[in-house]
């Protein structure tokens, strides 16, 4: 059984790893690279817990093969904060209590950040539509949506000042 050698950029770092072609990017992140911030939920693309950014698009890491990451640039939850400074979306989730068990949270944060990168001032409807591929089974969505709105608001203020 041969493993494949893959080179990718993960959270800005050139990274090399070995994986079997049947292994998902999610398995590679968690089991090979020990980046366990990305969570496994449904493992079939419905829940969004394993959301990562791949070449600028959010994707379910469970539906990407590790070998498909060759040459790609991947951003995971571990790459969202800058050092010890949390991203505004992370701060807003904490302050807005937009999480309970936390399994869905990394996926929501990666997805929300990607939304605000594209659309700094989304409407509530745009937030809910963008996050329709992310499921939360404890908090409910209102606190999550409000936290994204609050992060958007603060990021806009930062730009203005």
């Amino acid at each position: 059984m041969n493993s494949t050698h893959v080179r990718a950029t993960i959270n800005g770092q050139p990274t090399e790893f070995l994986c079997e072609p049947r292994h998902s990017l999610l398995e590679v992140l968690r089991d090979v690279l020990q980046l366990t911030g990305t969570k496994e939920g449904c493992n079939d693309g419905n829940c969004g817990a394993c959301t990562v950014e791949m070449d600028g698009r959010i994707v379910p890491a469970c539906l990407v093969l590790g070998v498909e990451a060759e040459g790609a640039s991947i951003l995971t939850i571990e790459g969202i904060a800058e050092g010890s400074a949390l991203h505004e979306v992370q701060r807003a989730f904490l302050e807005g209590a937009a999480l309970q068990c936390g399994v869905c949270t990394p996926g929501f944060i990666v997805a929300s950040k990607a939304l605000l990168d594209r659309n700094p001032d989304p409407t509530e409807g745009e937030i809910r539509l963008w996050l329709a591929n992310n499921l939360c089974r404890c908090t409910g969505y209102d606190k999550i949506v409000r936290s994204v709105q609050s992060a958007a608001c603060r990021m806009q203020q930062e730009i203005a000042t």
Partner: protein
């Protein structure tokens, strides 16, 4: 998942040779949003995955006023709705690529994959039929073209032979007075499988339906082109009566089953409502009015 080998051909020729060599053991991998799930649950047991995303012909998205749209079979949904020219020219296609899965799925899933997966509920397929799309199919033995309405043969099955692949879809340029629309019904707002869906197109000239096309999702073993609905429109004055007759023809042609998503009677009723509303929208997009 069982052991698989992974190939990433860089040219169409290399890709076709891989399918010629591995035959039924090979499976095309585009976005993987259906395929990887099916392999994990053991529904597919192919030993060789051929990643189509490095082949230029499979990732081409090009509009030409004479030739129309060339949509590579592995182009993900987000590229289709992110293309301003395609948005303006084919709103009936945009309807579907914006509703397949959610944002993350749209980052991977392709229209060609939606077609090749050949689910009766595939949202992209009725829209493609309404838009008169054709499939460009290739193998090492050569090329052939198949209209999308003739592509699917049964749930999960289609006309592709073991050594053939879908390279691209070709959508003709919309003529003057053309409008299209796809609508589906799901009990949630997003992220669900169509209980029923209707893809339609119209061509209007001088207040008359010069042409019309209606195709349905989730109400037969394959996506269904309803010839009788098109016939009910053709030559008729643009108005609510002709639309109602086409919608009734769609209802009559539907052959749904009862399952967890809806009863057969409910689905037949949906076909009428969705066809009517989609036609109303298509007429509007064609610049017509229903009076």
């Amino acid at each position: 998942m069982h052991w698989v080998d992974y190939l990433r051909p860089r040219t169409l020729d290399e890709c076709l040779r891989a399918f010629a060599e591995h035959g039924a053991n090979a499976r095309a991998l585009a976005g993987g949003t259906d395929l990887l799930v099916q392999m994990r649950v053991g529904r597919r047991t192919n030993g060789v995955l051929v990643d189509m995303k490095a082949v230029p012909e499979l990732t081409e998205l090009r509009y030409d006023a004479l030739e129309g749209l060339t949509l590579g079979a592995a182009v993900p949904c987000y590229r289709v709705y992110g293309d301003e020219k395609v948005r303006q020219t084919y709103p009936g296609l945009i309807d579907t690529v914006e509703m397949i899965g959610g944002t993350q799925i749209q980052g991977r899933a392709s229209v060609g994959g939606n077609l090749c997966n050949s689910a009766p509920s595939a949202d992209a397929v009725p829209a493609l039929i309404a838009l008169r799309a054709t499939c460009r199919i290739a193998s090492t033995a050569g090329w052939r073209e198949v209209p999308v309405e003739d592509f699917c043969t049964a749930p999960g099955r289609n006309v592709l032979r073991e050594t053939e692949i879908l390279v691209s879809l070709r959508l003709p340029p919309p003529p003057e007075g053309f409008g299209a629309c796809y609508l589906r019904f799901i009990p949630r707002n997003e992220m669900d499988i169509a209980v029923a869906g209707a893809g339609v197109s119209v061509k209007l000239a001088d207040g008359v339906f010069e042409d019309g096309r209606v195709a349905l999702a989730s109400v037969a073993p394959t996506p269904l082109l309803v010839e009788e609905a098109g016939a009910a429109l053709r030559g008729q004055r643009v108005g609510r009566e002709a639309v109602a007759r086409a919608a009734a023809a769609a209802k009559a042609a539907a052959r749904p089953i009862t399952d967890m998503r809806g009863t057969a009677a409910y689905r037949r009723n949906l076909c009428e409502v969705l066809t009517r509303r989609a036609l109303e929208r298509a007429v509007q997009r064609a610049g017509g009015t229903l009076g």
